[in-house]
Symmetry: C2
Subunit: 404 residues, 2 copies
């Protein structure tokens, strides 16, 4: 019998707990596990040996099902990036001391780097009885080695639905107005591109979409807006938080270095806020900026059923790999076809995903730089299909807590 | 047979179209109506005679049901406040020319003022054949004469659910952090108070809640935060957009007058952003501000089933009043009891609601000024109960359009 340890890391998503549920379900049903531990706060919790007993915490299908609809990381998270060999040694010692044979780490790029380093270290040390396996998650969808990342589909569904609602809200008045929506994504524009899904039922969706993959030209932005304002009253634009100018400077930086508050300190504003101010100065019409902020990654109440199901499967796959002793692997989604949508689950060497970023292919951005192509929509559309059957209690979604 | 005209005004909500559906259903089923017109863009559309035929646009129960799940004003809106007698004269002439006997105006304070002025004008002129009736709506819940406003319950449900999600997102890390969420409400803190509903299932919800009804003391705010940060890692605060200091100056103004952008112009920031900067300067921990922005009023995908049902009933009631010739009335919700929750629908003189603002009673705010009482929760809780059965198409909620 094997002892299994699972932990979560990086920014929360609406689906990372479905992956945790998948790991636990697989461990429970395998007949090969004894202890199933969860480390609290990722690798920090492994280092400080803060473990909880998941067999006891998740002892019913009802609890596992509640876990799948609970946003953010139920085991807590951390931002720790492994920098020193001593850290790897300390982790290895803890794993040995607790007789862990399987360690599944759910997270994004940095966490896959931890899996990579740790599995390499264990191999070096000839410790063959511990398998370390990664399970990908990130709303940014920027991990290599997998067709898409668990968590992304739910964020994309939130963004698509929210744009379809904002579109209606913004268009009720006859006055000329501009609404700029800033979407997560420092280096990859996948989430920003998802705003185009608001068009799937025939409405206009965002009029202009700017991804961080292309240099952002403020003058071009103003002329794009002016052109739209000539033919319609309300213009809705989607921008990545990480848009940069031709020289690579973040648009959001421009205000940070320019504006001072009462105390004479730099004022921190996002790209949306900077562009709002620019439109106010240069065009002069009614303008508003909206940040989808944390809501886009934690809105589990509108999670994609496809994403939740796949996230669970990724957890099952990662646990299977760990039980089979396939250290240094990452569970991945392979797209077999888009229409009809079919995927399979495999494991890939985690090194393929660690420390790399998958950006939006240039050919999926329209030549004018302010839209996305049909190919992009074909890629995105299956990921937001299906509505999770969320259980509500007293008017709000029910959640589960695994630790205080 | 009578001709009926209906229009919508003021800020959109997730439920204002359910009221429109109620008006149309009542008109259709009454057997007393011939034409059912909708004016596009509120009273502006009445003045410019931009009418659409709602019998034709809403000729199936499926369309009426889609209308109920469509956010924002399906007939468009306006911000026009009646200032001149000539405007009343022009409206009256249009109503006479189109042989309208019933005019139902769905909106907030300003719209109820229009209903009041117009019905008084018609009475003065001896025009008895036209009845003008108001149907209340506003996410702010600040209308007098009704226990609560259609649209408020859905916004409150969105806020409660969102806080329950944000709470989990903010608490995954071990680092000390402050999250400040700014909620709509310039003069009334009802929506901000709704953040406390995140606690209905036993979790902590917002740690601190500041309504605009009480003067906001920034030093007190900082000491409240410091106190919380001593015993927990993550502090979540809810603030009304309209919080003001002891002298009545908006907190949001303080940065507007202090910060300058690259062009030397005043920088516009909301209360949340100002407080974020304050915490960064004075406490120095990780801090983030979030604006729930338009999402809180247009998130129809998580509308309260209670709110949608009541909003429809308000439309039916308003139409009935108009058909009965009760000019100058407003349909209203009367709360018979909170537990079990029971309401009735009546009409009240619109003058009771026009140009008045219903604020949160001082005794529903805790003595320390940073929370709300159980009495407040008892008032709010029934309003967010029940989930609308939203129909999704291609992964996002289906909506209906009544005009281009």
């Amino acid at each position: 019998m094997k002892n299994l340890l699972v932990a979560q890391s990086g920014g929360p998503t609406a689906a990372i707990n479905a992956t945790l549920a998948g790991v636990v379900e697989c461990a429970l049903s395998s007949g090969q596990t004894d202890k199933i531990y969860g480390a609290v706060n990722g690798i920090e919790g492994v280092l400080s040996r803060r473990f909880i007993d998941l067999r006891q915490k998740l002892d019913s299908t009802e609890k596992l099902s509640l876990l799948c609809q609970t946003p953010a990381a139920a085991l807590g998270s951390c931002r720790l990036k492994i920098q020193k060999r001593e850290q790897l040694k300390a982790i290895a010692e803890t794993l040995k001391k607790w007789e862990i044979s399987c360690f599944v780490y759910i997270g994004g790029n940095d966490s896959m780097d931890t899996v990579d380093q740790l599995s390499a270290y264990l191999a070096e040390q000839g410790i063959e009885e511990i398998a370390v396996v990664g399970a990908p998650k990130t709303v940014d969808n920027d991990l290599m080695g997998t067709d898409h990342c668990p968590g992304f589909g739910s964020a994309a569904k939130y963004i698509a639905a929210t744009f379809s609602e904002l579109e209606r809200d913004c268009r009720v008045y006859t006055a000329k107005s501009v609404t700029i929506v800033e979407i997560m994504g420092r280096n990859a524009g996948w989430l920003t591109a998802s705003s185009a899904l608001a068009r799937v039922n025939g409405s206009g969706g965002p009029d202009l979409i700017y991804l961080c993959e292309r240099p952002f030209d403020t003058e071009r932005f103003l002329s794009d807006l002016r052109e739209k304002l000539e033919v319609q009253n309300s213009v809705l634009a989607a921008v990545s938080e990480g848009i940069r100018d031709e020289e690579g400077h973040y648009i959001s930086e421009q205000v940070q270095s320019g504006a001072l508050d009462n105390f004479g300190h730099a004022y921190i504003a996002g790209a949306g806020k900077v562009l709002e101010q620019l439109v106010r100065e240069r065009i002069g019409c009614k303008v508003r900026s909206i940040e989808l902020s944390l809501m886009q990654r934690c809105a589990a109440h509108i999670a994609s059923a496809t994403d939740i199901a796949e996230s669970r499967m990724i957890g099952i796959k990662a646990c299977q790999c760990a039980l089979e002793g396939q250290s240094g692997q990452m569970a991945a989604v392979i797209r077999e076809s888009s229409d009809p949508y079919r995927v399979s689950f495999r494991s890939v060497p985690v090194r393929e995903a660690a420390n790399a970023e998958k950006k939006v292919p240039d050919e999926w951005i329209t030549p004018d730089g302010c839209g996305v192509t049909d190919e992009m929509l074909e890629y995105l559309k299956p990921l937001i299909q299906g509505e999770s059957k969320v259980e509500y209690r007293n008017g709000i979604p029910a959640h589960i807590s695994l630790y205080p």
